[in-house]
Symmetry: C2
Subunit: 125 residues, 2 copies
DNA sequence: CGGAATCCCAAAGGATACTG
DNA sequence: CAGTATCCTTTGGGATTCCG
């Protein structure tokens, strides 16, 4: 993800993989996506259940992010053809892999929340 | 970060910590911040060095994110009062802690890049 | 109920110019 | 060189409405 290229022919592939990695990173490294992944956890949630848990997210943002996560194969979407429709979301293996790192990030927040709060107060003067 | 409140008096503090955690999460969970942290690594970089490494970032976004990271105590900024000025950025302990989780995330990307690419092709039809 | 589409505003973000 | 300020464009994202 931080590679340097010398211009040799097989570098083309590496450069392609690199820009793909950056694209994936950009998709995934945003708060809504990460919060959705975190709340989904090991369970299965319906659209409006997710909407209630990820507080502050709008209908539109939720669909948008769910589509994106589905497209990248992090979330599986299963539609039960009942009426009214019932749509359930769950993490794929890849999604659970990412979830593990989000967990770490949440742990980090808990660990340093004091430092951060203090640092903010110092800075805001 | 995902707590439920019953309304008891001491819940006020917990709720405050929670919303603070969400705030921090929102600050930090964006691609520019995470890329800056990743590139900073264990080293020390100047403004324009960072600018060249985090490709695609604008002057404005870089300053903005560096200020934010400094405010949260993740990045330390040292100014050498020479002419022309020399400003160096380095991760604090908290910053290095977060960097570890960003590393994990980069590892995750490398691991699943194939799955993701395939999933995208399937989806885009 | 889940989602697509529309409209519309506010915020993000780029380009440029100016300062110590 | 690093940073602030200004301007201007593009995007994000909320509210609403309609469809299966």
């Amino acid at each position: 993800m931080t590679t340097q290229y010398t211009g040799s022919p097989e570098d083309a592939d590496l450069a392609r993989a690199d820009s793909l990695a950056r694209e994936i990173f950009s998709d995934v490294a945003n708060k809504w996506a990460l919060l959705i992944i975190e709340f989904l956890g090991d369970g299965t949630l319906r659209f409006n259940e997710l909407r209630n848990m990820v507080e502050g997210i709008s209908h539109k943002m939720l669909t948008q992010n769910l589509r994106m996560l589905e497209r990248n194969g992090l979330v599986e979407r299963t539609v039960h053809p009942t009426v009214p429709p019932r749509v359930e979301y769950t993490l794929t293996e890849a999604g659970r892999g990412l979830r593990a790192t989000v967990d770490t990030m949440c742990g980090w927040t808990r660990r340093y929340i004091g430092h951060i709060e203090a640092s903010r107060r110092r800075f805001d003067t």
